[in-house]
């Protein structure tokens, strides 16, 4: 990336946190006095430190642009968010279909997502995990598992 156009992520992070702090502060001011005291203090502190982070980000950006410091923004990769999306789908399916069926399908799919290509470890660990969960949570701890339309 061209250093002349460099903007530290801390600028955006600080500004975003500051805007959120202001929005929540406005909401908090509508609370009764006793209820708003503590969150107001926390939000005012959050606002101060968000602005501080944004200011440090501006300083960092200026230094990089002048060539007096070397700093790169953290790279946000796509893979972690695909995994997050898979967790969301897993939870939705678990609510509708049930824990064991969803997990039996999700585990090998997620292993594929993480790059596993060997069938035996995939199926072996899926069966092993399901049996372990059934033994520990259902038999030993008597936990009621999320049950959808299926088992």
């Amino acid at each position: 990336m061209d250093n002349k156009k460099f903007i530290s992520n801390d600028v955006f992070l600080g500004l975003f946190a500051a805007v959120m702090a202001i929005i929540f502060l406005v909401m908090t001011l509508k609370f009764p006095e006793q209820v708003r005291l503590f969150p107001s203090l926390a939000l005012i502190l959050a606002l101060i430190f968000s602005i501080w982070i944004a200011a440090m980000g501006v300083y960092k950006s200026v230094q990089v642009r002048r060539g007096t410091a070397d700093y790169t923004n953290p790279e946000m990769k796509r893979q972690p968010f695909i995994v997050l999306a898979s967790i969301v789908i897993y939870v939705i399916c678990m609510q509708r279909i049930g824990f064991f069926v969803t997990t039996a399908v999700y585990l090998p799919c997620c292993m594929l997502l993480f790059g596993q290509r060997k069938v035996v470890p995939m199926l072996g660990s899926t069966v092993g995990v399901l049996l372990f969960i059934y033994w520990l949570f259902v038999i030993q701890l008597k936990v009621y598992m999320p049950a959808g339309i299926l088992f």
């Binding site: 992520n9 801390d10 992070l13 946190a17 929540f24 909401m27 908090t28 609370f31 009764p32 006793q34 209820v35 005291l37 503590f38 969150p39 926390a42 939000l43 502190l45 959050a46 430190f49 968000s50 501080w52 982070i53 953290p74 946000m76 990769k77 893979q79 972690p80 968010f81 695909i82 995994v83 997050l84 967790i87 969301v88 897993y90 939870v91 678990m94 609510q95 824990f99 997990t103 999700y106 585990l107 997620c110 292993m111 993480f114 790059g115 596993q116 290509r117 470890p121 995939m122 660990s125 995990v129 969960i133 520990l136 949570f137 701890l141 008597k142 936990v143 009621y144 598992m145 999320p146």
Partner: protein
């Protein structure tokens, strides 16, 4: 004395012994896996303890804490990959010994000294804690408010990304802790009309999201298929000889072990200073006092004894302020505090009087777990490194499933599962921006306590201005000084370090 005898009777029951063994083994596995922390292990195990009695549940969590610290040393010595930050000081000497064919002896010294450090800190915990707890009887709401604030200031030393970001994280945590119905007035705060948010965000799902799901997302960034099976097998072939040194050689390590135990214990008692600081301080002290300082870093068994004694001694030390004042000394201790509150235990003098029947077995169980850890370690340490051969592609999906189930199992609530997902995403984004997640956890735990004590202080102060009320109380003044020190020291240290780095760069 009576309480000690009855505690042993409580401990030697089947369910407690099974919990103890499970905690130790699971802790050693978690410790051996690089990237996995004791905090993550405790947070994953926390939901399983919901249905258990308080003693086995907390003995399991406490034993996991100490054995995961030890577990980190096995991969540090044999693979030059510290499983936990606390084993960083062990890695160079341990791996140098492995290359010389003395890996097993290094494991032996690490096992015995970890056991000594942990067990001695457990004994110290049993004797120091009740004395310190009596001091808490002098505390009113004002003092507890300042104790909570003091606990929050440990973020300074928890944040590698900077104190400012750490404090912002704590503020976010304090606001998140306010979500739900206010316990005093029953007024709904930040629920946006949702009944599901009425009771706020659950502590356990938040912890699991922040530590486990964010870690899985970090794992997803790694290469598609990463397994070090080949390296593990090669290392296994290099291990030969006896694991334990001859008895006459152990006398060389008595003084380093005692010195490192004292350093580790005090570092543990100090809020925020974790096992890594304890082991490095002890390593440096050992090097200064050693007859063979030139061997440090090149394969010194004494160096391993110093760092491993200290990092396990930190565990017992960190439990002292946790049980007596409710101030978690580290991120793992904060999660353990979650475990205490989940089982209805409130830190303070009552833990050592009214609930002594629960507290003493936990402390003694913690001490015994160090011996159990040593026995298992001496027998099976060489096989524990095999867990590092498990590929991320198998491990990560299993963690997702266990984390999801764990979040659900606490209250049988899908809202908790969604909280876990949200906190996981938040934790990942924070970690990518040099923000650590531990301050949020501390704030979630200490925030409600601080708010309640603030309200009680206002009532107690009556017409006196609140600031005057606080400053008229000596303990509050003392705690204020400690708070200023705990904020100032990391700032001064980081500036000093920056200055040193600049000087080195200028010289280059």
């Amino acid at each position: 004395m009576e309480i000690l005898i009855s505690s042993f009777q409580t401990l030697f029951t089947l369910d407690v012994l099974v919990a103890l063994l499970a905690g130790v083994v699971f802790g050693m596995v978690v410790g051996a896996l690089p990237g996995f922390t004791a905090t993550m292990g405790v947070s994953l195990l926390l939901p399983i303890t919901v249905g258990m009695e308080a003693v086995p549940a907390l003995v399991m969590l406490a034993s996991l804490y100490t054995s995961s610290t030890y577990g980190g040393s096995m991969t540090a010595i044999l693979l030059h990959t510290p499983g936990t930050a606390a084993s960083g000081a062990t890695a160079d000497d341990g791996f140098a010994l492995t290359l010389k064919g003395k890996g097993l002896q290094a494991i032996g010294v690490s096992t015995v000294t970890s056991c000594m450090g942990g067990a001695l800190s457990g004994v110290a915990l049993i004797f120091i804690s009740p004395l310190l707890a009596r001091l808490s009887l002098l505390f009113g709401p004002g003092e507890y408010l300042f104790v909570a604030l003091f606990g929050l200031t440990i973020i300074g030393s928890l944040c590698q990304g900077g104190v400012v970001k750490g404090i912002l994280c704590a503020c976010i945590g304090l606001v998140v802790a306010c979500v739900g119905i206010d316990p005093v007035t029953s007024y709904s705060r930040y629920t946006f009309g949702s009944n599901a948010l009425g009771s706020g965000f659950g502590l356990v799902p938040s912890l699991i999201g922040l530590f486990s799901i964010s870690q899985v997302m970090i794992m997803a960034e790694m290469s598609k298929e990463s397994s070090n099976e080949g390296i593990v097998n090669k290392t296994m072939q290099m291990l030969k000889g006896k694991i334990l040194l001859p008895l006459n050689e152990w006398k060389n390590y008595i003084i380093p072990v005692i010195r490192s135990f004292i350093i580790g214990l005090f570092v543990g008692i100090l809020p925020g200073a974790g096992g890594d600081i304890g082991s490095w301080l002890s390593y440096n002290a050992g090097k200064q006092q050693s007859k063979h300082p030139e061997e440090y870093g090149k394969g010194s068994l004494e160096a391993i004894a110093c760092s491993e004694t200290a990092n396990n001694a930190v565990c017992g030390g960190a439990l002292v302020p946790l049980l007596t004042l409710g101030v978690p000394g580290s991120a793992t201790a904060a999660v353990l505090l979650g475990g205490l509150t989940m089982h209805g235990l409130v830190p303070g003098n009552d833990l050592f009087t009214v609930q002594a029947g629960i507290t003493y077995p936990i402390m003694i169980g913690f001490t015994i777990s160090n011996f159990l850890m040593a026995i298992i370690g001496l027998i099976a340490a060489r096989y524990f490194i095999k867990v590092t051969a498990i590929p991320v592609s198998i491990l990560a999906p299993v963690i997702i499933v266990l984390a999801t189930l764990g979040s659900y199992a606490v209250q049988y609530s899908m809202v908790d599962v969604w909280s876990m997902v949200a906190f996981g995403a938040l934790g990942y984004i924070m970690r990518k921006h040099d923000m650590v997640t531990a301050p949020i956890v501390l704030a979630l735990i200490l925030g409600p306590m601080a708010e309640t004590k603030l309200i009680q202080s206002r009532i107690a102060a009556r017409s006196t201005p609140l600031l005057m009320y606080f400053m008229s109380r000596p303990i509050c003044v003392f705690l204020t000084i400690l708070i200023v020190i705990s904020i100032a020291v990391p700032v001064i240290q980081s500036r000093k370090q920056k200055k040193n780095n600049d000087t080195i760069m200028d010289e280059e």
